[in-house]
Amino acid sequence: MFDVITLFLSSVIIYSIPLLYGTTGEIMIEKSGSLNLGVEGTMAIGAVAGYVAACRTNSLFVGVLVAFISAALVGAVFAFLTVTLQANQNVTGLTITTFGVAFYYFLGNGLSNSEGGWPMLGNTTLAAQFADIKIPLLSDIPVLGPVLFTKNILVYFGVLIAVLMWLYFAKTVPGLKLRAIGENPGAADSLGINVTLYKYIHIMIGSGIMGIGGIYMGLNMGGTFEGSNCWINGYGWIAIALVIFANWSPARAILGTVVFGLFSTLRVYNVAFATAFPGVLGWLNKIPAHFFSALPFIITLIVLILSSMRKNSSSGEPAAIGRNYYREDR
């Protein structure tokens, strides 16, 4: 009986982590004052490029690196269009999503139809590198041990990124300068801070982090490519909403992604719950599966409505978000 709960919570963490990568990456970009709606596409490109590279080299490290770099290059395109050429951020972001997802299918279908075929994960060394790592002592705690401390390396890495990013914003001078740019680029510029450079760097790093979330999703799905379903499956959009839910704080993003992971995981565990606790949760069986698939998006909608109603000074939303900065525009 407790096994079901342990398994469920364990899955919650596994499903949360790609969201955490997407959310922290987007937080970094939004803190620089840019709104990138291209999370879905950026993750898709990172996923497919990283996964293929990982399979070809049989190395998780290379895969993650390629996922990061390819997604960061997508970020560079976004930065070039919106920072240098002053294009509309919303339109550019949407374009990147369209392009990224299409690129995913293009590469995936192309490889599937080629001679070697789509690379499968199977029982390779790569799969072993992605296997769960037990943290000594901590993993022996009942329930919490398997849920939190027996996970693959990218889970730990994702949490580490969120914590480091939080420290970066709160405690370092470059972090302070970045936040200043997101709030008032004119003020930052007048102090000799290189607004353009900061934006480029952080948009690229943020996009790169999203890319790692992408390859995580691919590996987590066992690397099977379906011609009709993208690995990212709308997680990029949820990440954008989660940024608001997390109030632009990487630390709160950890909490937010776990809450959303919970709803995403219900879809897989509703039957198991109904069987394990027929008295209390038997009704879960009667709800159509489609409802559970839609649940994360319904919650996203509710979160967005609630958070746009809450408008006060404690909001972490960067004041200059979504507006391009042009020095001579006064």
Partner: protein, 526 residues
């Protein structure tokens, strides 16, 4: 004493327009130099060349006797040149400390340095700044923000500091405090340039005055040896009558009466709190108060743009509470509000004068088509009458200079023939010449028997132009004074809330003796 700055033959053009022509200017070490000139005379361009935002086309700049090239704000900072901008360059959601830390070159990569805090506090103490380093900028008053801006440039090591219209947003008492700080900085060996339109301030604070006109350097005079009159002539290039006229009119019955008006601002806090006042025909009622004391919300409530919480508004005996803005306009109440960015409210910047004229009376046209011909005629009339300088009636409004934009807005409001005119900051950012033209327009309306509510910034102007002045502080009425028997100091005290004279000598300010509020009459007499 040497020269802190010397400009020789500086010229700068934008396209075919010459903003500065062959300017020679010196700033001596340890002096306060006032830079005087009308809008568009090239003051800002010149100062931007000193602070590294623009590069001069020709000419040379000497700082402390050395020829320099200033090609970026950082370079200017390295040379010890700092600028206190008119629009504060502060991050609202940061504390004072964080804002200063942002531009400090030393202090490591981490924020935790205690030395930084001590350095900032010591610098503040040296010049007598009162500042709480952990206060968020968004919770600061305008004066506190400016103090922080000044402290910022001093902390960055500037010895030559340019103040761009620093007094525009301050109260009388705050201006005195600022001038004390400036004198202290001069004592400490700083050299200061102050840009301002206000001649009395030039006379009070500066050692020397340099005058620019149409991008050319006219000359400089020692403040002690000149007068406001002479300075105006230098600036405008001809004699100008500095007295604002205040024609005395027979006042009519109260046109607009406001009782116990309470309005909330966007954040849901009380912006106007139980205000009583009235306007008679043929008078100008000034509204004085520190920026953000509820002036904007008051204007919006009268125009029907903002719902009121409590209270009554009578226009010629009829309640206008709850009416749509359009209905209120038809009733004869017209509002022109010049916001800080000047183009934000009332005009569509990319549309032409004609189109902007139509925005207010498009409903008069029959059918679904607009009557452009009539509107063009109206635009032409306004251009002729108000001497609006524009290439044509079809020029987009944003291409006009500030004064002309404001004239277009005011012209449109007057055209509808209101009998109550609410106007907020109509001369905001205008030079002397354009300002006087606006005053003339208002006085002309007053002569026609219109009641005018004039929300202003400059107390000298208000004392000269308005018949009565009511003072607001935090949305509350502090009193209504007759502008012929009051002083700037009293009004300043009322603005800060230190003085309240609403209930004096047994009568209540803001309630007319011949009120249209029948039921409230006895109350008022008590």
């Amino acid at each position: 004493m040497g020269n802190a700055i010397e400009l020789r033959g500086i010229s700068k053009s934008f396209g075919s327009v010459a903003a500065n022509r062959d300017i020679n200017l010196t700033l001596k070490e340890g002096e306060i130099l006032a830079l005087l000139g009308e809008n568009g005379s090239g003051k800002t361009t010149l100062m931007n060349m000193l602070s590294g935002i623009y590069m001069p086309d020709s000419g040379s700049i000497f700082v402390n006797g050395n020829k320099v090239n200033i090609n970026s704000p950082e370079q200017a900072a390295r040379l010890g040149i700092g600028m206190v901008h008119q629009h504060f360059k502060l991050v609202e959601r940061f504390t004072a400390l964080e804002n200063i830390r942002l531009g400090l070159k030393e202090g490591g990569k981490f924020l935790l340095g205690k030395d930084t805090r001590k350095y900032i506090q010591d610098t503040a103490a040296k010049f007598g700044f009162e500042i709480d380093p952990d206060k968020l900028v968004c919770n600061m008053s305008v004066s506190e923000k400016q103090t922080l801006e000044i402290l910022k440039v001093i902390c960055y090591g500037a010895k030559i500091i340019i103040f761009d219209e620093p007094t525009a947003v301050l109260t009388v008492q705050e201006i005195d405090k600022l001038f004390d700080v400036m004198r202290k900085m001069r004592q400490d060996g700083h050299s200061l340039i102050i840009i301002t339109h206000k001649l009395n301030e030039v006379m009070e604070i500066s050692d020397r005055v340099a005058v620019l006109r149409h991008g050319e350097y006219i000359g400089s005079v020692e403040t002690a040896k000149t007068s406001e009159k002479e300075l105006t002539e230098l600036m405008v290039g001809r004699r100008i009558d500095l007295d604002i006229k205040r024609p005395l009119m027979d006042k009519t019955h109260p046109l607009l009466e406001i009782r116990d008006l309470t309005v909330k601002n966007d954040e849901g806090a009380l912006a106007v709190d139980g205000m009583n006042f009235y306007i008679r025909g043929g008078e100008i009622l000034g509204v004085a108060g520190i920026a953000g004391s509820g002036q904007k919300e008051l204007c919006e409530a009268i125009a029907g743009l903002r719902p009121i919480e409590r209270g009554q508004m009578l226009h010629e005996g009829e309640s206008i509470v709850g009416m749509s803005p359009k209905k209120i306009l038809e009733h004869g109440i017209s509002m022109s509000f010049i916001p800080e960015d000047r183009l934000g409210m009332g005009l569509a910047p990319s549309l032409s004068i004609t189109d902007n004229m139509m925005l207010k009376n498009y409903t008069e046209a029959k059918g679904i088509f607009v009557d452009r011909k009539a509107a063009r005629k109206e635009a032409k009339e306004a251009i002729d009458k108000l001497e609006i300088v524009t290439p044509s009636t079809e020029t987009p409004v944003r291409k006009l200079s500030g004064g002309n934009v404001q004239k277009v807005l005011l012209g449109r409001e007057i055209k509808s023939g209101p009998n109550v005119l609410v106007t907020a900051y109509p001369v905001r950012g205008l030079d002397i010449n354009s300002s006087y033209m606006i005053y003339d327009i208002l006085n002309e309306q007053k002569k026609k028997g219109v009641g005018i509510l004039f929300v202003g910034e400059d107390l000298d102007v208000m004392l000269a132009l308005c018949d009565k002045i009511m003072v607001m502080c935090h949305g509350r009425l502090q009193g209504v004074v007759n502008s012929t028997n009051t002083t700037k100091e009293d009004i300043g005290l009322m603005m800060t809330g230190a003085l309240n004279i609403v209930n004096k000598e047994g009568k209540t300010d803001g309630i007319a003796a011949d009120s249209a509020f029948e039921d409230k009459k006895e109350e008022a007499d008590v």
